[in-house]
Structure formats: structure tokens, C-alpha cells
């Protein structure tokens, strides 16, 4: 805006605003500081590399990676359909895809259980094929994919809308068939949005707790991911829980700075 440029003094905030803002910041900062203070630094490495910790860490990384891949494979096409097609019912489809964003994970997990559990809708047919999903590692991946999918779809759809259709129209007019347009023009254009979506989906998968616990239980090495391990160890081995928590806090911090931090470049950037 021309009459209120950057560095403007005009729209100064009333001073009293800073008090609740500081309180809000403390609400987040104090617990994080508390974690850091509680870390048993001399034993940190040993705690993080204990057998059960490593098992949980490896399981978490494996399942989060798998569910992120599943999110990309399913979510990018969904985002393309939402942003580029003109099917009827698109509005309903968008609502359905975004639902897990606000659905309590426990409810999501229960819904998955009723879908693929032994007594679920798809349970008997899957059983007939010799496939068991509930309370296996596959259930962990399923739960994580369910809750993480909307993060990827929202990121990619936003990027697709921002990129617009103009490059695609030009590419088609130059003779590129739809698949070539998609792979050589559309996807490269939305790569930053896709990357942000991948990071967010991975982070959400890594932290999944409620849905995983409900549909997959807590079996060491099979379904006990890092958040479950932390939850279980908080009483039996608090030091291990703290150490593992710190690992996840650092991961979260890296993700936030990577995905949202660019916003902070200047007051005018968005």
C-alpha cells in the first residue's frame, strides 16, 4: 500500500496487546524449555539408542516414510482433480478429503478399524485373501496416511491454483499431450508446494498417536511408533521419554522453519 509503506509507524499497536501476546508465547516456550531442562544430557545418546527406543525410532521412520509415499501417490492426483477438473461433486469431494484434518484421530482410527478390522466392512474379504491389516505395521501406515493425506492435498492444490493453467495451455499449444504436460510442466511448477506438503505429511505421520493406537495397538517393533513409546516410557523410564521427546521437538522445529519460516522474511511477505 502506498500510503502505509513498510516500516510504517502509523498503525502502531496499543501497548496492552503485548501482554497477552507474551503470555501466549510463554505457553509454548515454557514447556519446551522444561523438556530441555529435564534432558539427562550425559546419558542422552544411550537413552536414544536403547533397544526399544531404536526399535520405535526405526519403525516410526519406516512407517512415516511409507505413509508419506502413499500420500504423494494418492494425494497429488486428488489435488490435480480438485484444482484442474470440472467434475460435478467437486465440492463434496474436497470436504471429504479435508475431513481427517479436523476429525479426532481416535475417531479416525476407530473408523479405520471398522473398515479393515476383522469384523469390519472389508475385514472378511481381506481375511479371505489372507490379508490381515488391523494391529499390524500396515495398520500404522494406513492410520498415518489417513491423517496426513489432507496436508499434502491442501499444499499441492494451493500450489496448483497459484501456478494457474497458463503454462499448461501454452505447453498443450506447443503439441504436448496431457501426460507430458503433467509430468514436464505442471509437476515441476508445483514442486515447492509439493515439497512443503511432503514435509508436513511426514511430520504429521511421525507424530501420529491416537489413530495408530486405536487401529494398530502398541506392539514393540510392529506398531509401537515413537509417540507411543514416549507415552509408555513416560512413567517407566522418564529420562528416555524426555530424550526421545527432544528428538521430536527438534524435528518439529526444523519442519516449521522449513515450511513456515519463509513467511518471516519480511513484514510484507506472505
Amino acid at each position: 500500500m502506498r500510503s502505509a509503506p513498510r516500516g510504517a509507524e502509523g498503525s502502531a499497536l496499543p501497548r496492552w496487546v503485548f501482554a497477552p501476546a507474551a503470555l501466549g508465547a510463554l505457553l509454548v516456550v515454557v514447556p519446551l524449555v522444561a523438556v530441555v531442562l529435564r534432558v539427562d544430557w550425559p546419558d542422552f545418546v544411550a537413552l536414544v539408542t536403547s533397544e526399544s527406543s531404536v526399535a520405535a525410532l526405526r519403525l516410526s521412520l519406516r512407517t512415516a516414510t511409507a505413509s508419506t509415499v502413499a500420500c504423494v501417490v494418492l494425494g497429488v492426483p486428488l489435488a490435480l482433480v480438485l484444482a484442474r477438473s470440472s467434475l460435478p461433486g467437486l465440492r463434496a469431494l474436497r470436504a471429504v478429503v479435508l475431513l481427517p484434518l479436523v476429525l479426532p484421530p481416535v475417531v479416525g482410527g476407530l473408523a479405520l478399524l471398522y473398515a479393515v478390522g476383522r469384523q469390519g466392512v472389508l475385514g472378511p474379504p481381506l481375511e479371505a485373501l489372507g490379508i490381515r491389516v488391523a494391529f499390524t505395521t500396515a495398520a500404522v501406515v494406513l492410520a498415518q496416511t489417513f491423517v496426513s493425506l489432507p496436508f499434502l492435498v491442501v499444499s499441492v492444490e494451493g500450489a496448483l491454483r497459484t501456478a494457474g493453467r497458463r503454462y499448461e495451455a501454452v505447453a498443450a499449444s506447443l503439441g504436448a499431450a496431457p501426460s507430458r504436460v503433467l509430468l514436464r510442466v505442471t509437476l515441476p511448477l508445483v514442486l515447492p508446494g509439493l515439497a512443503a506438503g511432503v514435509v508436513l505429511a511426514f511430520a504429521r505421520s511421525l507424530g501420529e498417536f491416537g489413530a495408530t493406537l486405536t487401529v494398530a495397538g502398541s506392539l514393540q517393533g510392529v506398531t509401537r511408533t515413537l509417540p507411543l513409546e514416549i507415552y509408555l516410557q513416560r512413567e517407566t523410564d522418564p529420562d528416555a521419554a524426555v530424550a526421545l521427546s527432544l528428538v521430536l521437538v527438534v524435528v518439529a522445529a526444523v519442519v516449521v522453519v522449513g515450511v513456515h519460516g519463509r513467511r518471516g522474511a519480511g513484514p510484507g511477505t506472505r
Binding site: Y167, V170, S173
Partner: protein, 374 residues
Amino acid sequence: MTGPGGLDAQLRFAPRGLVADVHLAPGEVLAVLGPNGSGKSTLLSLLAGLLRPTGGRIVLDGEVLAGEDGRFVAPHRRGTALLAQDALLFPHLSVEANVAFGSRSAGASRRAARDVARHWLDVTGTTDLAHRRPHEVSGGQAQRVAVARALAADPRLLLLDEPLAALDVGAAPEVRRVLRQVLRGTPRRSAVLVTHDLLDALALADRVVVLDGGRVAEEGAVADVLSRPRSAFGARIAGLVLLAGTATADGLRTGGGTLLAGLRDDDCPPGSAAVATFSPAAVAVHRDDPGGSPRNRWAAAVDELAPRGDLVRLRARLRPGGEEVLADVTASSVADLDLVPGSPVHLVVKATAVAVHAVGRPAPRAGGGAGGTR
């Protein structure tokens, strides 16, 4: 590069009320002019296959691209390369890879596509930029690369959508020169050029179609339409005042009864329907009746003053006829004359500055569109 046949299109798109027939001989360049919302961009989108027509047919070089039988050739199979206002170079590809994109899409080998790309980079004077990324070149350079990219796809028809509109004043002439060279050079290229810019039409096109409200308001050679507009919009884009009426022995009598002295065409006998045109710059504005020799001296009232570049365009209504006349005066004259809306003025135009010509169907061309004044 275009075979015999050229373009023969009856363009219909009901949602935007477009009903326009467009014909193009092989190698011809057609400029499409018209106000915003007149259907210029819809016309291009229909030709490119970005919109599905609601009727009519499009035939290019004998191939039916869209027809009433529901036939619709997908955009990538049409050979109608699009050059938009923004260069829209693919930002993740080098300049050379951008230019090679069309050949690669057509299945050419990497090597063959590179050779084609280099040829067109050379033609457009952008060889030095081959290995740069699009964000490393200027706006004018990017648009020249976009020209190269469009031509490297070897299109049967080039579609140009205001290709110079987004360029700054310094960059436009060079891009215009490149376009002139590739369109007007040997071999000539068939192209449809949507523009709002007279200079582009003058520099690049053989013929012009004036669209208004989705219909063809006027059609003809560029210089004809500019110097002798027959439609109100044609006059507007030519920057002329147009008054319609009946030819008289020494000029024209408008419907409102105003008499204009002017130079009458031979094909326009007294009593026939005619239009008189003159430039707003030829209109002198006085506060008091200046008297003297000019035969066109009218009392008028200022309706509106609007700045146009350095000049002020005065819109005045003649008394008693009620015809609207434009006059361009300098800002300092407006100050000197203390003009505000409502000021009474006297307008003077020399008879030699007024051209009177017949109104009729535009100079016919084989299969010409729905012409005539509107």
C-alpha cells in the same frame, strides 16, 4: 509452412455471445481488434482448442478441428502455437530447453530438437541466452525466446495474444521487429494477432477484423480501416471522430441537422448514407466565437474532460444537433480557457481535415465476415 487451404472458421461460443467468421489465406496475418469483452480472447481460445465451441466449425488446412458433429481436436494436436502477453517460459527449463519443448513433444530426438531450437534462437537473436534460466533474462528477451519457442513447434497457425502488451516501452520495439521479421519474412506465416494496439496491427498484420460485442463490426485492410473507419468502434481505435448522416454536395448533414463541410469521396454521391471522420487533434477550442474563414464552426457544451497522456480530451456536445465531438487540447489550454464540465465553447474544424465517405459493406473479400456498420 502452411499448406494450401488456410483457416476457415465459423466461431460460435454462446456463453459469451461470440458469433464471428474468420478466414485466413495461407501466410496471411489477421489482426483482431476490439474493446474489452468484445470476444477477442474467446476467439483465440476457440482456435487453440482451449474452449469447446458451441457451434460452427473450424477448418485449418483442410482438417476439421471442430465441427457441428461434435468433432473436437485436442489442443496439442492442432498445430496452433500460442504466444501470450507474458512470455510464460517454463521456469524450470533452460532457454534452449524451452525452445526445444515443441519438437521434443512431437517426438524429435534430443539432438534434432536441439538443432531446431538453435536455429530459432539464432533467428530471434537470443542465441547468447541458450543456457540461461528464464528468470535470468529480461522481459523483452523472454518474449523473443517465446517467439522462438512457438515457431520451433512448427505450427500451422500462430496465435498471438497481445504479445507486446506486457513489455515496457524500451523492450517492445525489438520484439515487434522480431515478430515482423518472422511473420512478414520468407516464408510468410499464418497468424491471428489479438491486440488493442494500432501500432502492432500496422506493423504486423495484412488485414484487421474489428470485434464488438462478439460480432465482426468491420473488416478490411489495416490502412483502410484506420484511415476510413466505417464503424463507431473503428473510428475510436483510429482515434477519429465519426458522425453519420447523409452526404451533401460539400460534405455531410447529420441526423441531428448539423452540417459538416469536408472532402467527399467520389463513390459517395450527395444523398447517399455516409460518415464524416476527423481527428480530435484537428478540433480547435475557443471560449468565444472566433469568426473567420473555417466553415465548420459549432457552439457546444463541454460534457467531460479526461486526461489522455499529456493531452486533455474534451468531450463536447454540439448545439443544437446533440452530436458528440471529441477534441484534444493541451492541459495548459484547459487552464487558460478555464474549462470545466458545462463550459460553453466554440469548436472549429477546417473543412480540409474532414473526410466524408460512403457507408456500405466493407471491401468484400472471398468469404468475408459479417461486416457493415453497427
